[in-house]
């Protein structure tokens, strides 16, 4: 009787504890979004979005920064998608079970590397050793490396989620492994591949540390005319403007840029969610 009562009390306390933790977590996240919207919405006008910045960002808009962020992000996606798809296919279709587990641990470990280290590596290797300097190309390459683990994990999970009977149906028809990959595995995991790419792009869009070393300048740059020219991005623009916070126009602009960055990340994440929901493989 006492034991039963104690179990009931413990259960209630646990219920309250996890409930409070959930409320705290959700409140924190909602507060950030609410603050961005409240402070940034007034600044986020069509003029602000469509005009280039002036006076080191204190005036004008964020057109170049939006395009710069998109150029870096989409470039990184373009470079990393074939690499991630190839790696995921090699892991799932060709690698022995034991090596598969080892390679996955390595990929997960790579995912946890601080992004500043990616930036430093990119600066040393791409910027100095390969002579690419601080440029759009350096930024694309380092961002591609950075989002690679996210994309590999996501694509691999999508491939592994294909029911075994579909593979067997293909193999039983006499397909080779390569034909199976082309005709069954890639088409059936397409939703996961697109989702993985969008999640990777979302991560790349929010990244600041890595590109500070390799791709961006804080001011005086518009759109790059070549791949070896630097770009300006929303992330670095926010950093620059936040240091100019004593000017009220800069304060408004920083919230507007922050909200715009959040919208871009949200668009990629939402895209991933929609693709996953709509194109999910009918198992």
């Amino acid at each position: 009787m006492i034991a039963a009562r104690r179990r009931t009390v413990m259960g209630t306390l646990l219920h309250i504890f996890v409930g409070v933790m959930t409320i705290v977590s959700v409140t924190l996240l909602v507060s950030i979004v609410a603050m961005m919207v409240a402070k940034g919405a007034t600044a986020l006008t069509w003029e602000f979005v469509s005009q280039p910045s002036k006076s080191f960002g204190a005036e004008g808009g964020i057109r170049s920064q939006i395009l710069g962020t998109l150029l870096l992000t989409l470039g990184a996606g373009f470079v990393s998608l074939p690499l991630a798809l190839g790696t995921a296919l090699y892991q799932t279709e060709y690698l022995a079970q034991r090596l598969k587990a080892v390679s996955m641990r390595f990929i997960y470990a790579l995912n946890g590397v601080p992004t500043i280290l990616f930036g430093l590596f990119g600066y040393m290797v791409f910027g100095i050793y390969l002579g690419l300097g601080v440029s759009w190309l350096s930024g694309v390459l380092i961002l591609a490396m950075m989002i690679l683990p996210t994309m590999i994990v996501s694509i691999r999970e999508a491939i592994e989620a294909i029911p075994a009977r579909y593979r067997e149906a293909g193999l039983a028809l006499g397909m080779t492994q390569a034909q199976l990959i082309r005709a069954v595995i890639v088409p059936q995991s397409l939703a996961g591949i697109i989702t993985g790419m969008l999640l990777g792009l979302a991560r790349a869009t929010g990244e600041t540390a890595a590109i500070m070393f390799t791709a961006t300048t804080f001011s005086g740059v518009d759109l790059p005319q070549a791949i070896n020219e630097p770009v300006t991005t929303l992330q670095t623009h926010i950093l620059l403007l936040s240091q100019e916070a004593i000017h009220s126009s800069a304060t408004d602009a920083v919230w507007g840029a922050a909200l715009m960055l959040m919208v871009l990340v949200f668009c990629f994440s939402l895209g991933a969610f929609v693709v996953r929901s709509r194109l999910r493989f009918a198992a």
């Binding site: 579909y166 028809l173 059936q188």
Partner: protein, 258 residues
């Protein structure tokens, strides 16, 4: 026991296992070039494992091991002294239909030509006539001829299974493996499939795994009974059902679970 002069498959001293777990031991039998051969036995006796050994589909499963000799029309399909075995080509010759109709999420037409197109077995200009021929062969043409470009998954379970047969037959196999193809079908669909199996059995060796003893009796010329990790008994269907020589077979056929 039959002689092996006109055998499509011959198994000599075959042992099948997953890692250290033996599934079937010391399998010695032959399967004739024409007719339906049924594999029966209790659940877990290794029926499907034996069936999938014949087209090497178990190779995809980790730790599967096959020792002994498995010959398909006189050629060893596991070991070859002259070079590696062309397993995809072997599987092109040995068609297979699974227990559940596994259609690809595309149209009826594309499902029929799925193997043909990828394996480039025929020119594309022949596809339409092949689709019609194979769908007629599985008695599905009249039911789907007006909706060939609709999703295959909209078909009933029985129609889907017949479509799976059509997909396998479109690649023109010379032997057919069937893993409980009527297990999840209604009586009407089962009858349609059984008629098809009998017709196919006149042209090629058809090896059928089934839990339904009546079905094995109706369709087969030869029956293989598996129990407790070995081939307990095999032979002509009339002999097997009328006067089985092994006690285990007698008990199983009498309805006992071994």
């Amino acid at each position: 026991m039959k002689n092996s002069t006109d055998a499509a498959f011959i198994l000599k001293d075959v042992n099948l296992s997953f890692g250290s777990v033996p599934i079937l031991s010391n399998v010695n039998l032959s399967i004739q070039e024409r007719g339906v051969t049924s594999i029966i036995g209790p659940s877990g006796s290794g029926k499907t494992t034996l069936l999938r050994t014949l087209n090497r589909l178990n190779d995809a499963l980790p730790s599967f091991q096959c020792t002994g000799s498995v010959l398909f029309r006189g050629q060893s399909i596991y070991t070859n002294g002259t070079g590696p075995i062309d397993v995809p080509r072997l599987r092109q010759h040995i068609g297979m239909v699974m227990q559940k109709p596994c259609l690809f999420p595309t149209t009826i037409y594309k499902n029929v030509v799925f193997g043909l197109k990828r394996l480039q077995l025929k020119p594309r200009s022949d596809f339409s006539s092949i689709v019609e021929e194979t769908l007629q062969a599985v008695s599905l043409w009249d039911e789907v001829k007006d909706r060939l470009h609709r999703p295959a998954n909209d078909l009933s379970q029985g129609q889907q299974q017949r479509l799976a047969f059509a997909r396998a037959l479109a690649c023109e196999p010379t032997a057919l493996l069937l893993d409980e193809p009527t297990a999840s079908l209604d009586p009407q669909s089962t009858q349609a499939i059984e008629t098809l199996i009998q017709e196919l059995g006149t042209r090629m060796p058809v090896i059928l795994v089934t839990h339904r003893l009546e079905q094995a009796k109706r369709l087969s010329e030869t029956v293989i009974f598996l129990s407790e990790g070995c081939v307990c008994e095999w032979g002509g269907v009339d002999d097997m059902f009328a006067c089985p020589s092994e006690e285990k077979t007698q008990q199983y056929l009498a309805g006992h679970t071994l």
